[in-house]
């Protein structure tokens, strides 16, 4: 009735593996598949950095109507430099938030913007115009209302996460669905109110519905920059943990990662970043998605220590290039999100079709 143990371990599968030419300790894991991929990463970083620097310099310097010795030249240059800082804030916020959000939700199609942030922004803006007319929009342009908008958006997100992720039937998919439904609902309310505005009020409102650096104000910086640094820092600090979280809840728990705590931390940080960006310049629905997808393609690694910086760099380069082209080629000021969506969308399709996978 007993089984001979020798039977179990015999057979070809139990033969010792053939000797290797490389010593076991010399074989390395690394974030990249090959040394070539690693070099390629740094070439791309260098290229993007050069592009970002050239276009930001161009944005500040190029086509300044004043001669350089005139004090007006520096006044104009400083105003334009502020634009570049705003672009940097938006790039950091959108890129870090989207990559981290997609990792913890194990989904590369959705972005945090979908979770009702932009609809909330639209609803708040529309409500102000609807209730108080054009004066309402003007009233929205101060630091208090900026802080209030950020707080509202983060509050909505935290309520949603707290409610849906800590209950007995905690479920990420349900949370995402509820977020999208709330977003759609708010969007519909906003559209309904927009129907009842006068044409001139609607015109003023429309200008704020597109993401535009013109919406930003230096007065917001003392709040926006510290929030960005803290929330972005948290995400960068968690980079190695994010690598493990990307394996999914069960595999990550098996590796000793406190999954729920990490999930909620990342979601709150991402919510804060998106809220700062949206309250600062308005909706940028497509930017985060585009930047994250391009980062996965260009970085070609699973390691967030490389993915996160790459995404910020891509975000910044895309924004500065788009602005530069809009200002100095088309002489169209203001709405740059149109160009980002057109060029970015095309680039995205090319990359996806060429590589054949997300």
């Amino acid at each position: 009735m007993t089984i001979a143990t020798t039977d179990r371990t015999s057979g070809p599968a139990s033969q010792p593996s053939p000797p290797r030419t490389v010593d076991a300790a010399e074989r390395r894991s690394g974030a990249f598949r090959t040394a070539r991929a690693h070099r390629r990463y740094w070439w791309i970083v260098g290229g993007l950095l050069a592009l970002a620097l050239v276009t930001s310099f161009g944005l500040v310097w190029w086509g300044n109507p004043m001669p350089i010795e005139h004090p007006g030249f520096w006044r104009i240059a400083r105003r334009r430099a502020i634009t570049v800082v705003v672009l940097l804030i938006v790039a950091v916020c959108q890129s870090l938030a989207t990559v981290a959000f997609q990792t913890v939700t194990s989904n590369r199609i959705i972005t945090p913007s979908i979770m009702g942030f932009e609809s909330l922004y639209r609803a708040v803006q529309t409500t102000m115009v609807y209730l108080f007319g054009v004066a309402g929009v003007v009233a929205l342009n101060n630091l208090q209302s900026f802080v209030l908008q950020v707080a509202l958006m983060v509050g909505l997100a935290c309520a949603l996460y707290g409610w849906l992720l800590t209950g007995r039937y905690a479920n990420l998919q349900v949370m995402l669905l509820v977020g999208i439904i709330i977003g759609t609902g708010l969007g519909s309310v906003a559209s309904f109110m927009q129907r009842m505005l006068t044409p001139s009020e609607f015109d003023v409102l429309t200008a704020r519905m597109f993401g535009s650096v013109g919406n930003a104000d230096v007065a917001y910086f003392p709040v926006a920059i510290p929030l960005m640094v803290v929330a972005g820092g948290v995400l960068c600090f968690l980079a190695r943990t994010l690598n493990a979280v990307a394996l999914g809840r069960e595999a990550a728990t098996n590796l000793g990662v406190p999954h729920r705590r990490t999930l909620i931390t990342v979601l709150v940080a991402a919510a804060t970043l998106i809220a700062v960006s949206t309250a600062l310049v308005g909706p940028m629905t497509f930017l985060g998605f585009l930047v994250a997808t391009l980062s996965y393609q260009f970085a070609d690694t699973h390691d967030h220590r490389y993915l996160l910086p790459m995404s910020v760099l891509i975000g910044f380069a895309v924004l500065t290039t788009a602005y530069f082209v809009m200002h100095h080629v088309f002489y169209a000021y203001g709405v740059v999100s149109i160009l980002i969506e057109l060029v970015g969308g095309t680039l995205f399709l090319i990359v996806i079709l060429k590589k054949g996978r997300l």
């Binding site: 593996s17 190695r240 690598n243 595999a251 098996n254």
Partner: protein
């Protein structure tokens, strides 16, 4: 030793498993068998703290899984589920390297690299170590996942249906690897199996569950009997002795 006391999990007032009072011995391979819905995977995932239990307590090597820090537990016990879908694209070596996460938190040392290489070679993945997982066959991929949990260097290794979707040759190879891992590295391997013949051949102990409670626990010799198996699976099962082979259950 893994001990469960009064462990229950309720899905609704009529559906649920437990209460379990059970001790799984240290060392060797223990197979969990039973009909569909008997609670094998539920029990395994509760021991592996992937699923919260509703009442009772589980101790693994003297550590209570509810109160021990997840990070410390990851050095005592590892668990592999049957479905593994990752959104990121990983090479075999990167995946196996994650097994060192509880120790290195992502900063791999030279020792870690040596351990990773050892388990990659142990599962004959040396040639494939820089391939991406999506370039592997199902059997190779399954071996890579098992290499990852072995690389975690835990005393207890829980595997949820590791033979799922494997053909005969790969199933046999996988069970031999697990057998060798138990003996060479002195691991306790607990594995959910559907095929009682695999359980009888490669396991030291068989734990049979039925309708959410423990039905039988014993050595393969004690479980591989007509009356016992017929009762557990509610199917006519005949155990036959074949020359030069272990006991075989026939149920066709």
């Amino acid at each position: 030793m893994i001990s469960l006391s009064h462990v229950t999990k309720r899905y609704s007032s009529t559906v649920g498993i437990g209460p379990f009072d059970l001790q799984l011995p240290k060392g060797g391979v223990t197979a969990l068998i039973g009909p569909n819905g008997a609670g094998k995977s539920t029990m395994l995932t509760m021991i592996g703290r992937l699923l919260d239990m509703d009442s009772g307590s589980i101790e693994v090597a003297g550590y209570d899984i509810a109160s021990t820090k997840s990070r410390d537990l990851a050095k005592i016990l590892s668990i592999l589920r049957q479905e593994n879908h990752f959104i990121t694209r990983l090479t075999v070596r990167q995946l196996v390297g994650f097994g060192r996460f509880p120790y290195s938190q992502g900063r791999l040392t030279v020792d870690d690299e040596r351990i990773i290489s050892r388990y990659i070679d142990f599962l004959d993945l040396g040639e494939l170590e820089s391939r991406y997982l999506d370039q592997l066959s199902g059997g190779q991929r399954q071996r890579a996942y098992v290499a990852m949990v072995l690389c975690q260097d835990t005393e207890y290794v829980l595997l949820d249906e590791p033979l799922n979707n494997l053909d005969i040759a790969h199933s046999v190879a996988m069970m031999r690897h697990l057998r060798r891992a138990a003996e060479e590295f002195d691991r306790t391997i607990i594995v959910v199996l559907h095929d009682i013949n695999f359980a009888a051949t490669y396991a030291d102990y068989i734990c049979a569950l039925k309708n959410g409670v423990l039905a039988r626990f014993g050595t393969p010799g004690e479980i591989m009997r007509d009356d016992v198996l017929t009762e557990i699976f509610e199917t006519d099962i005949t155990v036959i002795e074949t020359p030069g082979r272990p006991l075989v259950a026939v149920y066709f």
